[in-house]
Amino acid sequence: MEIRTAFHKKLREIQDDVLAMGSMVEKAISHSIEALKKRDLDMAHQIIADDLEINKKRFDIEEKCIQLIATQQPMASDLRIIICVLNMISELERIGDYAEGTAKVVVIIGDEPPLKPLIDLPRMAEKTVDMLQRSLDAFLNRDAEAARQIAGEDDEVDNLYDQVFRELLTFMAEDPRTITRATRLIWIAHNLERSADRVTNICERVVFVVTGKMEEIGASKY
């Protein structure tokens, strides 16, 4: 016979809320790059507006966590889950902000001609979204090994950032008229690189939930 059913139900709801917030953020990242590729200003404005929803979701989840701590005195793994959630939603909210930042750059770029075909930036975005999705799965499945593995893949994003940076530097060096456009693209690459770093933090928290120990998983190059 299960006891504390009300508590467990609330705990499951909180975890479902985190997954929902994760989906909102994944969509924001994907759409921000799509808006860049297609010069879709409507899509960019939508991402900026939707970021308010992401922020609200974060505060809703935080409120639920605080109430659960106050009323149910969670212990051991239940406590670690709630603490993990509090940290994760903070990371997700920041990733959402990065996507919003990218969308704002898209608005600024407007209908300027593209500097070059976009290859590496979409790759960075895909990889980051993939890592984020899988890190939330790892949280759901309490899979510390998967979390460590995903955190290690941050190197791929860092390497792509390196590539983008060097390529744009070359553009700027060869033709100063490209500096403004190149700088904006570097900024977007930076947003994606920081997003992947935040996913690494999420992975560290998943390991904490499973093992009860805070492990730093490989410092980022940047």
Binding site: E2, I3, R4, M75, A76, G212
Partner: protein, 270 residues
Amino acid sequence: MSVNVLSNNKTTHLNKVKLKTERVNLYYGTFQALRNITLDIPEHAITAVIGPSGCGKSSFLRLFNRMNDLITGAKVGGHVKIDGISIYENNIDVVELRKRVGMVFQKPNPFPMSVFENVAFGPRRHGRNNRSELEDIVERSLRQAALWDEVEDKLEQSALALSGGQQQRLCIARVLAVEPEVILMDEPCSALDPVATLKIEDLMRSLAEDYTIVIVTHNMQQAARVSDMTAFLMMEEDRAGVLAEYGPTSELFTNPKDKRTEDYITGRFG
């Protein structure tokens, strides 16, 4: 062997060992109440004993002052030691033992006498009869029990007129009056309101600097709030109590090593 205790008592498990059980088995007649309990209780710290009803927590506590001797058919196997000396040998003076190891019970049990006489009772029995000496002892004990300010002008009044929380602190003063080394507490707050409970918990923390305290409690939050070390006892299928896990409280309640502990403290089984 002993280490300075940090203010948040994280290293109390490194203190000198005050109480020790070695493979202790306790029987009431043919019924085995405790099986193979081995643990070291550190000095100048609070150790909590938690576990489901009937698992043997109170029986375990009573090992240290041999109160189980008063139960017909009770038999103890293995060793129970205080400062390295086994207390179940034939040459042990049980009266002297119960002076060194005091006990506070769930329901406050003041004697039907004045506040003063309650506290003076023990020292009198142990030969202190000088009035002025007794007055000093009573004041010291009531101050240590954080009760003096509330009763200093009521010492001749009946102890039964005190509130529940005050009566329990009086019982603690009674224990302190005979200068024990160990204080055993069997669910000392379960009959008290929340404010009285927190006052007793504060008192326990201050007493832990000078005494060794072992508390049985079915209130896990209290064990988490107040203790340095926690022992989790549970019942096996034959209803014998075993030690499932023992460790620093902060670790046991955030990252228990045994699944049975995890299930119990998260309420997944009772």
